[in-house]
Every structure is written in C-alpha cells, then in structure tokens.
C-alpha cells in the first residue's frame, strides 16, 4: 500500500513538471509586451527599459527560464523604481499589474477555490449517491421515474443560467463572500453556501444518474444475492454490499470530473464575487499579467494532480484488487 502511494506520488510529480515546462513554452514565447502593460499609457522608453531591466525581461529567453526556475527553488529579487522587493522561494514571479509576488496572490485565492470545489462536491456526492441508491432500489416505480425526470430537467438548464438564478432569486440565502475558515467557520460556510448549492444541485443530477445506473448493476450481482441468502437485513445488503461495489465507478467519474469543476470555478467565482483562482486568472488574462497566469496554471495542475491522487487512493481503499494488482 505504501509503495503504491509512493509510486503514485512520484508519477504525480512528473505530471506537474511536464505542465510547468509546457506553460513556460506557452507564455515565455508568447508575443506580448508585459513591460508596456505595467508602464501604462503615459510611458517613456527609459521607463520601459527600467521595467524590463528590473523584471529581467531584457535577458535572453533561456536566461529568463533559468531565472524563473531559480526563483522557485531559491527565491529572487525584483527591483522596481529603485525599490528592491525580495520574493522568497518558492517564487513564481511578480505580478506586473498588482505589484505583489504571485505566490502571495495565489496563497490568498487558492483556499477560496478549494473551499468552493470541495464544498460543492460534498453536496452533490451526498445528494447524488443517496438519491441514486434509493432510485435504484425502487426501480421502475413512479418514485424512480420522478427522480430520473427531475435529473433530466436539472441537467437541461445551463450551468451559468442556474447560477444566475440562484444569485438573483435565492435572496433568502446569506450574502456571498469569503471569510477564512480559521477566522470564522460560520461566516465561511454562510458566505459560500450559494456557490455550494449551485455546484451541488447542478452536478447532483448527473451523480444521481451515475449512482442509479451503477447501483442497479451492483444490486444485480451474484454477491448481492449471496449476501441476501445469508439472512442479513435488506438495508445492510444494499448499503454495505451493493453500495460498496456501486461506488467504485462513481469515484472514477468523480476523478475525471474534478478537472472540469476547476474550470467551472471561473463562472462560480465571477457570479458570486468570490476572490478565487478562477477570478485571479481571468483578471490576469485580461491584463496580460503573465506571471500570475503561469502561476495559476501551475497551481491548477498541482491541485488537479493532488485531487486525482486522493481519488486514486480512495479507489484502492474501495477495491482491494487494485492494491495488489
């Protein structure tokens, strides 16, 4: 088991390195003019040169890559307008437009996004798996048809429309906003509630259907018949024997889904005004803030890899055959 996790961690690290190299290639060689953006409309050539000097933009591209790498490992200095800023390791560069180290910006935005994504996942996994399991048990009845019909209606509504509806009409919900969990857990939860509900309800429809299909298959398995023949209660047969097997495919889908959830966070954050990674990246994109964009991509890939790792480990915990295979 430990060896398996170690192997998975190593392969996860290699994925992050590949993403890093790819984002370098994309952004360092992009035809942009960061110094011009920082300098603003009233700009002198001297000032541009000064900015390029301070950010190392006048160096050859290869040199810049090395500088960036060095920043991640050992930190680096930025001097702008005579003021020297130290950016401690792991340094992901310096925001041209916000005048802050990228690490600091991401450090502030990341907990917001993670709170949104994980909180939303808890809602749709709980609702979806429970509704799916119940529907699978009453398959073919009117209750089952009602559940399936509801999921179809919910799935037909585009995500952003649903989010807007919640934002505009669900006024009874507490106002959206982000407070750190460690500062005030109650405010943290109430500020994110609208976002969680939006993500939760829209995705719960899909998860209800996955779980229902998966449970119908699981409940038809021979080992479920064996469990019934042992004389244990129906509840135990369904929730211990059936659900355990039925969950595995759902967990697999969840692992793939998380990538889309992160992208979806851009919508959620914009609509509910939550200062997460999505919003940060969107602003950086509009303002050609390359270091922030690159940092965002990098952190996004790290989060994704970590979440997939967690899902894979959950998978091995569910299915002992994977552990030894």
């Amino acid at each position: 088991m430990l060896l398996y996790i170690l192997k998975r961690v190593l392969s996860a690290i290699s994925v992050v390195i590949v993403t890093l190299v790819a984002s370098f290639a994309l952004f360092f060689f992009a035809p942009t003019d960061p110094a011009g953006v920082i300098c603003g409309p009233r700009c002198t050539p001297e000032r541009i040169a000064d900015i390029e000097q301070s950010l190392g933009l006048n160096q050859p591209k290869a040199e810049q890559v090395l500088l960036y790498m060095k920043g991640i490992v050992a930190g680096r200095e930025f001097s702008s307008g005579g003021v020297t800023q130290h950016c401690a390791a792991p340094c992901l560069g310096y925001s041209y437009t916000l005048g802050q180290p990228v690490t600091k910006l991401i450090g502030a935005a990341l907990p917001v996004t993670i709170s949104i994504v994980i909180g939303g996942a808890v809602v749709y996994l709980l609702v979806g798996i429970l509704a799916g399991t119940i529907a699978a048990q009453v398959r073919g009845t009117s209750a089952d048809r009602f559940v399936v019909g509801t999921t179809l209606v919910v799935q037909a509504i585009p995500y952003f429309v649903f989010a807007l509806m919640i934002a505009l009409y669900a006024t009874f919900l507490p106002a959206s906003g982000y407070t750190s969990f460690f500062e005030n857990p109650f405010l943290w939860a109430s500020g994110l509630l609208a976002a969680w509900l939006t993500i939760g309800v829209t995705n719960a429809a899909a998860y209800t259907r996955y779980s229902r299909a998966s449970m119908i298959e699981a409940l038809g398995q021979d080992f479920v018949r064996t469990a019934t023949s042992k004389g244990i209660s129906r509840r135990r047969v369904v929730y211990r024997h059936g659900l355990r097997a039925g969950l595995t495919p759902v967990v697999t889908i969840f692992g793939i889904d998380l990538a889309f959830q992160l992208t979806g966070a851009i919508f959620t954050e914009s609509i509910f005004g939550l200062p997460g990674i999505g919003l940060l990246a969107l602003r950086a994109f509009n303002q050609y803030d390359l270091p922030v964009l690159m940092g965002g991509v990098l952190i996004g890939s790290v989060v994704l890899v970590v979440m997939n790792l967690v899902v894979d480990i959950a998978y091995t915990a569910l299915d002992p055959r994977v552990r030894l295979g």
Partner: protein, 351 residues
Amino acid sequence: MTATTTAKSGVRSVPGAPLLELDAVKMHFKTKGEGLLARRTQWVQAVDGVDLTVQPGETLGLVGESGCGKSTTARLITRLLEPTGGQIRYQGVDIAHMSDRQLRPYRREIQLIFQDPYSSLNPRHTVGTIVGTALRTHEMVAKSGELKRVQELLELVGLNPEHYNRYPHEFSGGQRQRIGIARALAARPKIIVADEPVSALDVSIQAQVMNLLEELRKELGIAFVFIAHDLGVVRHFCDRIAVMYLGRVVEEGPRDSLYEKPQHPYTQALLSAVPDIGVVRGTPPKNRIRLVGDVPSPVDPPSGCRFRTRCWKAQDICATEDPALIERAPAQQVACHFAEPPAESILAETA
C-alpha cells in the same frame, strides 16, 4: 529449404508433409505490474514447448483443465496469436511468423469455431450476411451465386435455408452454434479448430451439435483439432487425444489406449475425477485418485516435471529433470519418469 509447390489458392506446401505440425511451440505472454516503478516483468508460460501433428481428415482432441494452454494452442494454430518460439507448419510450410498478408490463403483453410455462440456472432448482421461475409472474404463464389451458397450451407448445418435474413437473437443457443459452423464451412477449410464448441450448450442440444460435427467430418473429410474439458465428449469425437498440463503435452495417444491404459499420473487422475454415470449403471472403480491442491501458476511453474507438486509418484529426479515426451506404448507418448499403466481400471465398467 525443402522444395515446395504452390496451389492456385496461394497456399504453399511440401509434398508428403503432415497437414499440421506444431514443433516446440511456445507462447509466453508478458505481464507487468502497472505504475512508473513497476518494472518487474513476468512471463506467463501459457504454452511452453508443444509438439503436435494432425494428418488430413484426422481428429485430434486436446484436453486439460483451465490454464493448461489448450485455448492458447487453438489461437496459435489459427494464428490469432504469433508464437514466441517454435514452428507451426501447415503442409510443411512454417506459418508461425507470417504477416497478415502472407497468411490470407492459409486463414481460409484453417478455420476456428468458438465456444460462445452468443458473443461470436455480430448481433446487427443477418445470418445471410454473417455467412456471406465469410464467402466474400475468401472469394469463394461469384456475387450472383452467394445467396444460393449461403442457403446450401445453412441446410448443411441443419438450419432452415429460408431463415438467412434472420438475426442471431432469433435463434436458440444450439442453432447459433450451427451458424458459427456454417460460417467456418463457408471457406471450405481443410482443418477446423473447435475451441469448446459444445460446452455452453445443454446436454440434449450438445448431442445434436456433436452429431452434426461428426457428419460433417465424415462427409467433407475435414480434419479437426477439438478442444474440450469434457472427457466424454472428446473421446466420442476424436481419433487421437493429447492431454495438456501447465502449457505442456503430458500424454498423447490413440483414444482407446489413452482412456483404458493411461500412463501419466495426471491423465489417470483426470479420468478418475470425471463424475461418471457408470458408477450407478455398472461396476464402480475400486480406487479413485484425488489430486490435492490446485494447478501452480504458469508464471512460475515448478522445475523439472510440472506435475510433480501434485503427483503421488514424485521423486527427487522429478524436480531436477524435465521428462521428455517418449513413446511408451504403440503410438502412445508419455512425459513421465515413472510412466506405467494403472493396475486396476480407472473408469467404471458398464455392465
């Protein structure tokens, strides 16, 4: 290189050579644990040095338990798999490593019948299309004569020729197996490899299909490699029988001597284990041989004789020396250091 002649079909042959010869054929599958660091490559020795010969019109039975390599052997003969060692000679010409293009004329003459009549027929094609495709692939008849030939084939396997436009799901299991047989016959093969062709069928249907195969063999003179785990079925159909264990042939011989005087301990144990209706209808055998344990893993087979871990006769020599397949009785070859016929009859004597 021996002189070969080439038939019109493109099949080359060495005059006087047997129809099919397997010579030290090996099939080792690579398995690897998944993940970045799992570099521990293992080899599953599914088939490990098998020699077999089939003459024209002859039926050779292959028996053995799961994992003995009998199905892999079927896939090697039909070249669905490329062996990792040895030669597969068809009429004297080695087809073991031929390319798909080179194999085409041979594929026509070597046909395969599968075990599962449900999954081996495309559910979206009519029976006429299934059999007709086989005709077209091998360019057996002109387009105009195709339907007539399909109907002839359906009639030959005992199906209503008017049913050519029906779909597989409209037929019962036994009828589907007949469709599979018609498809194999479409190519006018010289040899059919039948991999458990009746084991998915009910007893009464199984007997119907067995009789059909028997008639076709007599009528058309097709040679068979007949693979089954049911020793009664194999005995009924085959002239010669080879017993396989863990990727090797342990005993091979004519039907009667193999069933009446088996010399390899594994053959004896296998025959002794068959639940036999004769125990009620005749005199039950005095001694029943019961093997203990399971077949070892083909990834790491025992040294020397592969059967020694479950053999009651095993001595030190069995662990060190691999017994060769040698003739112990007329036409009966046994791979055992202590081969001998059983003292008493293994099977029940029918009154």
